[in-house]
Symmetry: C3
Subunit: 135 residues, 3 copies
C-alpha cells in the first residue's frame, strides 16, 4: 500500500494545479516495477483555508506531502524513489516558487503493517502485475 | 482517549452512509467496558474531493480509518477489539464492495501520553463509568 | 520546521475564534528565540462537519492540535514551551469551556528529518534571525 496526503494552502488553488501534482505522484508510484502495487495507491489532497504561515504578514503559501507506506522496502529503492519524487514535486512548483513565498515539504512515513487491516478489490484489476502475497 | 479519523473519497458520499459508520465506531468504543472512556471518544470524517486512486482510470473509491489511542491497553484486548471493529467496517461497506472498486483500510496507532496535554469536561458526564485516573 | 494542525468540530465555528487561535500558536513559535525558525512555521486548521463525540447524544465539541517538529530540541525547552502553549490554548477556550462540553487535546510529535525533503524560500525573508544551517 501507499498513501499520500497533499495538504496545501488555498492561495495555491488557482496556480498550483494540485490535480496535476496528484497525477504525477500516482504515476511515479505506478512506475515502480511493482514496489508500490497499483491497486494500493491512494493519493489525495486537503485544501486548507485557515492558516497562519511564518509571521502571517505576507501571502505565504505551503504544500506539505506525507507519504505513508508499509515498512520493508529496500533502503536503496527508497532513497532513489523519494529523491526523484521530490525533484518532480519541485519541478511542478518551480514557476510559482520563483515568483512567490512557498514552503514545500515531503515526509516519508513507514508503518508496521501488523497494526493494519485491509480489504481492497482494486488489486484484482492489476493482478497480473502484482505479487500474489501483497494485500 | 480514542481518536478516529475516517478519510473517504467523495464518490462514496451518496451510498457510503459515513455518518452511520462514525456512529458504529463510536458505539463499539462505548461498549468496551471502559477501556475507551466514553468522554474521550472523538470520531470524525474528512471527505476528500481531490484524489487519484490506483491508475486513476476508473471510479475507484477508498476509505482509510486511523484510530489513535494512548498506549498501554492489553494486547489481547486490542486484537479482539480491532478484529471486531474491522468486521463491522467491512459489513458496513459490504453491498458497495460487492458492486464497485473500493479500498478499505484501518490503521491502529498508539501514542505516548507523556507527549500530550488534555482538558476535557465531557468525562464528568460519564464519571460513574470511568476510572478516576483516566484523563 | 514546525507544523501544527488544529482539527475542530464545526459547532465551534462561531464562538471558537479559530483564526485567533492559529495566530496565538504562530506567535508563540515566533517568540522562541529561533528554536522554531519563523520561516518554517505552518499552522493550519481543518474544520470537521461529520463527527460523533462521546455517546453522540449531546452538542459536544472538540479541538485536537497536533504539533509536528523535527527531533533534537532540548527536553527542557520542549517541556516549558508546550506547557506554556497549552495554557494559551486553554485560556483561548476558557469561556467556552466554562459553558459547554468541550474536549481539548494537544499532541507533540517529533519526526526524523532524515526522512524529509524541503524547499522553502520563506526562510530567506527572516534570514538574519535564523541560524544558517537550519533548512
Amino acid at each position: 500500500m501507499a498513501h499520500a496526503l497533499v495538504e496545501y494552502s488555498d492561495n495555491l488553488t488557482d496556480q498550483g494545479d494540485i490535480r496535476g501534482l496528484l497525477k504525477k505522484i500516482a504515476a511515479q508510484m505506478c512506475n515502480s516495477n511493482g514496489v508500490f502495487p497499483t491497486g494500493g495507491i491512494r493519493i489525495r489532497a486537503n485544501r486548507l483555508s485557515e492558516y497562519v504561515i511564518a509571521d502571517g504578514e505576507d501571502d505565504y503559501a505551503f504544500v506539505n506531502i506525507v507519504v505513508q507506506m508499509g515498512s520493508g522496502r529496500p533502503a536503496d529503492f527508497k532513497k532513489q524513489f523519494f529523491d526523484e519524487l521530490f525533484e518532480i514535486i519541485k519541478a511542478h512548483f518551480a514557476i510559482i516558487y520563483a515568483s512567490r513565498y512557498l514552503a514545500i515539504s515531503l515526509y516519508v512515513v513507514e508503518v508496521n503493517e501488523q497494526n493494519s487491516y485491509k480489504q481492497n478489490n482494486i488489486h484484482a484489476k492489476f493482478v497480473s502485475a502484482m505479487p500474489p502475497t501483497k494485500a
